[in-house]
């Protein structure tokens, strides 16, 4: 196996390297990728067309919004996939409404507990800032969602899984993730119902108090919030499934 792998890797590497001399030199502003009208358009026309200064956010949520919708779906699929592969107990917890009576609480360490108490609200505030300010600075729904999810992971690490699940109960996770995608595709379907193409936000100025250009910018914010919902929920769900080996009882 090892020698076979080595031969494959050397062949592939040689093949890939054979084209390097053909590449434009590193950082060349005249290279096809940087000089082509596609990249030029994204740099110069983004602000006039959508009034968003961060080009990455604009391209992500508007020009290639269809891609980003499926990026969110990838996250969602991963969450459901991991739940369906690993989850042990039948999902009857969704049917009974009684509170969880089991307790697996470990003794909280004073230093860790206090630090996390201080840190978690700040992390969450920062996550919200990242989501809301994604138009003007690096960030956006995905990054903010991951950071928000990470704050719950930190809670679960510092206390135990139950403590975190009081904030994000398992039954709410899937709903939250689904609602996130529904928000995203809702913007798309709203455009369709108003008579335009899927995700063509411009038409939404009919139902928004905004000019067509502003409608694009506002819809992007809405879409990013949807992405953030899904990411928060799924990141925590993946962690809780992996850390408890699928039974949601004990954490690490």
């Amino acid at each position: 196996m090892k020698s076979f792998a080595l031969i494959t890797v050397i062949l592939t590497g040689w093949l890939l390297l054979s084209a390097v001399s053909d590449f434009p030199s590193w950082g060349d502003t005249e290279s096809p990728a940087n000089d082509y009208r596609l990249s030029q358009h994204y740099i110069t026309e983004t602000f006039p067309e959508s009034s968003v200064p961060n080009m990455v956010t604009a391209v992500l949520a508007d020009y290639r919004g269809y891609d980003t919708m499926f990026e969110t779906v990838v996250i969602f699929v991963a969450g459901i996939a991991i739940m369906s592969i690993l989850r042990r107990k039948p999902l009857d917890y969704l049917k009974d409404t009684g509170r969880e009576t089991r307790s697996y609480k470990k003794d909280p360490d004073l230093i860790i507990d206090t630090t996390c108490r201080l840190m978690i609200p700040i992390i969450q505030l920062f996550a919200l800032y990242v989501v809301a300010h994604g138009h003007h600075s690096p960030g956006g729904g995905f990054q903010g969602g991951v950071i928000f999810g990470a704050s719950f992971i930190l809670l679960a690490l510092s206390r135990d899984l139950q403590a975190a699940q009081r904030w994000v109960p398992e039954k709410r996770v899937l709903n939250l993730a689904g609602i996130g995608i529904l928000i995203y595709s809702g913007f798309g379907f709203a455009c369709m119902i108003l008579g335009s193409n899927f995700l063509d936000y411009e038409i939404l100025h009919k139902i928004m108090p905004a000019t067509p250009v502003e409608a694009r910018s506002h819809s992007m914010l809405g879409v990013e919030i949807g992405v953030a919902f899904t990411c928060t929920a799924i990141m925590f769900s993946i962690y809780s499934n992996l850390a408890s080996n699928g039974d949601m009882k004990e954490t690490l």
Partner: protein, 81 residues
């Protein structure tokens, strides 16, 4: 971007990649993989790809490493290669 900084980071990247794949203890492999992701994130920040670097620092160095550690602690730390 300063090429010397670039080169040093890249060399460290190769080293961390090899160490993380060669070490027998999976927990340290996961930790070194976090270091690898963080170096990657530095490199991207240097290439003016701030959004990508931001994502990688949250996802690669943060969440991915936590997932790996969770799995290692739930299975076994021992690895034959």
């Amino acid at each position: 971007m300063i090429w010397a900084f670039d080169l040093i980071t890249l060399i460290f990247l190769v080293i961390t990649a090899i160490i993380s794949l060669q070490t027998k203890d999976l927990l340290s492999a996961a930790m070194i993989f976090g270091v690898y992701s963080f170096l990657m994130c530095l490199l991207w920040a240097g290439m003016a790809a701030v959004d990508v670097a931001f994502t990688e620092s949250a996802v690669g160095a943060g969440v991915s490493a936590v997932f790996l550690i969770a799995t290692v602690l739930r299975t076994t730390r021992r690895s034959s290669d």
